[in-house]
Symmetry: C2
Subunit: 287 residues, 2 copies
């Protein structure tokens, strides 16, 4: 039995191993032969105890890691004009920082607000993404809209299916604007394979995030499963993205109070074990 | 300010006021001028402490209430053939009991199983619904497939959008098979208004359930909001169903540990107050 994907196709989101600072993440990932690190912004914000973006760049280069993504900008939806402007300004800061650390893309969690109708919210998102797309292009950065699970439609993202994200990307029609596909958010979507192919054929699959869906969800935010803990046929999903032309790294993004309580070295070993075993057995799970 | 909908358009699911048995539900609802009661099966199952279906019928008739629905049958998805057969047998029991109590429809929560791919699960559902549709017709009963929110896709329902439910109803193409639209499950769906019209034009909107989506969800199952607690423009949803031809009652279905902890008379008064105020003010909320 050989691993279906080599270790250099694996990237980890720093939030996954949130007990470590950026230096520890990079050192540990490098030691394990992992290919990339997707950096959450608090780790490169000195005001939040992080290192400077320039220092981050040195740490990452020294470890020989690729940075698929800076995570995250967005939250573009608000009834308040000043708040919308502030979110766009913040996205420009993210673009500057992403360029500084050598990230390939910025993940956009686009936002939603309980008082704003979803159709209206999506217009606000389009306006904001259009406003920053040329800045991203000048920085040689991609902007990846991440559709979030419908359970986050009231407060985190008004884009909740890949079909809808594809529609919105087609409407924006900017070469730097595409999608990040997170299996946790999308696994249930009817017609998912068709939408993955559609995104791929448009050259818009910028990122692929993996984790698992646990049937017994104890918390809507921080109870994600690690690959193998749940019901998703993750290998099938990954192969679908590759068949659609995606050739980047697979990013492990798990928010989990129970895993965060583990010894982080043991947790990293478990992540690697689960990644190594993906797709090596025939699966009867969901597609 | 007058109420947009009269009290006789209101029905309540017995599970909403679960501290009461069927006799108390019916007496209290009648006293409040409510038009209907949707009956959960435990209340008409003597083995679970309920009354017999015949006794239930007498209680309901005495109270002058309509029964929009018996809730619920389904859970047709399993890798195990015997379990699938048992679910179909149980649905036939539900049909018999629904006829006995004078219900207009049975709500189908169709099921899902972590080991069964969703496409395969949907085939199992179609097979099961087809198997019981003629039994329902003979009992003059409708079968309402209720699409559940995607957060229940692994274990409760493989049908998670109205678009998908409409597709499946069109495939089954039986006059007794339609949909129950629950605003909690569907409010976020892109293109919802179009799908409501599609269901209505096919004569397939059998039931409409109302409650609200709270932004801060403390529990994926039992933390639903009462109308006005959350972010959904419920009146707009109700009007959409009426514009699509629905002329039945609006059923309040709320599972909520916090409301269940309230004094049930005060809770019923609150439900009535919230129902009375639906749609009487212009709303800026989601559509």
């Amino acid at each position: 039995m050989t691993a279906a994907w080599p270790m250099n196709k694996l990237a980890i989101h720093t939030r996954t191993t949130r007990n470590w600072d950026l230096r520890s993440c990079c050192a540990k990932y490098q030691q394990a032969g992992i290919g990339g690190v997707s950096v959450w912004r608090e780790l490169i914000d000195p005001a939040q105890g992080g290192v400077s973006p320039d220092e981050a760049r040195r740490i990452i280069v020294d470890a020989g890691l690729v940075v698929p993504a800076l995570v995250r900008a967005g939250f573009f939806v608000s009834a308040d004009t000043d708040e919308r402007t502030a979110a766009i300004d913040d996205a420009r800061v993210a673009i500057r920082d992403a360029q500084a650390i050598g990230a390939e893309q910025i993940v956009l969690v686009v936002g939603a607000s309980p008082g704003v109708p979803l159709e209206h919210a999506r217009s606000m998102v389009c306006d904001a993404v259009v406003a920053i797309a040329d800045d991203a292009a000048q920085a040689n950065l991609r902007l990846a809209i991440e559709p979030l699970h419908p359970m986050y439609a009231s407060d985190r993202s008004c884009i909740n299916t890949l079909a809808n994200a594809n529609d919105i990307c087609a409407q924006i029609a900017h070469p730097q604007v595409g999608v990040a596909l997170d299996v946790y958010h999308l696994w249930w979507e009817p017609g998912l394979a068709t939408q993955i192919m559609r995104a791929g054929q448009a050259g818009r699959i910028f990122g692929v995030h993996i984790c698992d869906w646990k049937t017994t969800l104890s918390d809507p935010l921080n109870d994600r499963g690690l690959m193998g803990d749940g019901c998703i046929d993750i290998a099938n999903f990954m192969r679908s993205t590759e068949a659609a032309g995606f050739d980047g790294m697979f990013e492990v993004e798990v928010f989990s109070e129970s895993y965060w309580a583990m010894d982080p070295d043991q947790y990293l070993a478990l992540i690697i074990d689960r990644f190594s075993n993906l797709g090596t057995n025939p699966s009867l799970l969901n597609d």
